[in-house]
Symmetry: C2
Subunit: 215 residues, 2 copies
Amino acid sequence: MKSSIPPATVGRLPVYLRALLVLEASGAEVVSSAELAEASGVNPAQVRKDLTHLRSSGKRGVGYDVMGLAAEMRKELGFDQRWAVVIVGAGHLGQALATYPGFLERGFDIASVLDADPAKAGMELGDLRVEPLSELGRLCAEREVAIGIICTPADAAQEVAQKLVAAGVGSILNFAPVPLTLPGRVNVRQVDLSVELQILAFHEQRRAEDEAPGP
Amino acid sequence: MKSSIPPATVGRLPVYLRALLVLEASGAEVVSSAELAEASGVNPAQVRKDLTHLRSSGKRGVGYDVMGLAAEMRKELGFDQRWAVVIVGAGHLGQALATYPGFLERGFDIASVLDADPAKAGMELGDLRVEPLSELGRLCAEREVAIGIICTPADAAQEVAQKLVAAGVGSILNFAPVPLTLPGRVNVRQVDLSVELQILAFHEQRRAEDEAPGP
DNA sequence: TGGTGTGAAACTTTTCACAGCT
DNA sequence: AGCTGTGAAAAGTTTCACACCA
């Protein structure tokens, strides 16, 4: 068991890596915590503390070795290998994610897009063809899929999640607006697009109330 | 200035509200913190503490009044009014969001979808037509848009964000993988789809390392 | 000199545990 | 009897400030 990295830090590592890749491409050899912080939208002290969780390559008075740090981070994030991903749910969102260029760039290959609706199966999506949901087990096994993305309606999500787990998927990104109940060993991340907007609406609402104080 | 609600709580209110709407529709009159917690995927104590931040309607030994609580929450989240939203960037993701049914259901109307690419302008999207980016100011003013969604490539996001702010937009949901630098009064939420997958990949990576211990 | 590494402080969030009300 | 409301403890996160070193 490796020494664990705090979740908040894990969430920032991909952001740092993105900044580092830009720096690397630009030929920069060293970067300071202040620069990295600027590029990542966080506090410099935060950056330094986060980086102590990896085999850090900082030199006092100088900064961090860009290539060394990028290499270390690539290894931690499994960026050097490609990850096969399945998407369940071929609605608009599923289709958009299936062709999202950011995934490909970051090492994620969409192995398959599936849908329970037979009418959607067979649909062409770039160079993918939508498969019927019944093929889930076979496809995950064949392509060694470790990560699944759920883009189904809320009422189908739990069942799909269980099928993914049964198919050997260990990590799930859930866009369906419902919490999943799964064994603890499964990693789940919930992304709820409506909730994001509602949080913004809450702040707008507050702003309006503050401007025109109530009764 | 109203007594402020902690950000972590604000992030959960929309989740509670969703559960409450289901309960309301099912005719339930009261709900316990345990039930609400179950439906929202959080801890019951958390629910109770969160609810103390609003004018709470809990009765000891009984639970919370579903209608009262839902009403209170709708008011806090501005759920009773409709919010006009613009989407900038009519790529696959922008298109998917423009037709995302969850937004409509929760009170968000897509006032307009815009794109800097003249080739995309004029494109039909459900009952919307993609507008050229130059129309941003006029459209935001006309439709009293308070919320903007950025689905552009990373390199266009900062400029678009500034245009949104200039157009009077106070809250931004940013899907572009780059941190925005904006005046403090603007609410920004960053959603980074690739980062979500990379976080899952990190955990899968760890899992693999733990199963096959290294040198 | 300039920027890292890091204890310590400040703050936030979560969880516990139980008094107190219905 | 049962479930809320809530102080207090625990855990996690961010920020500060400065010793230390290339």
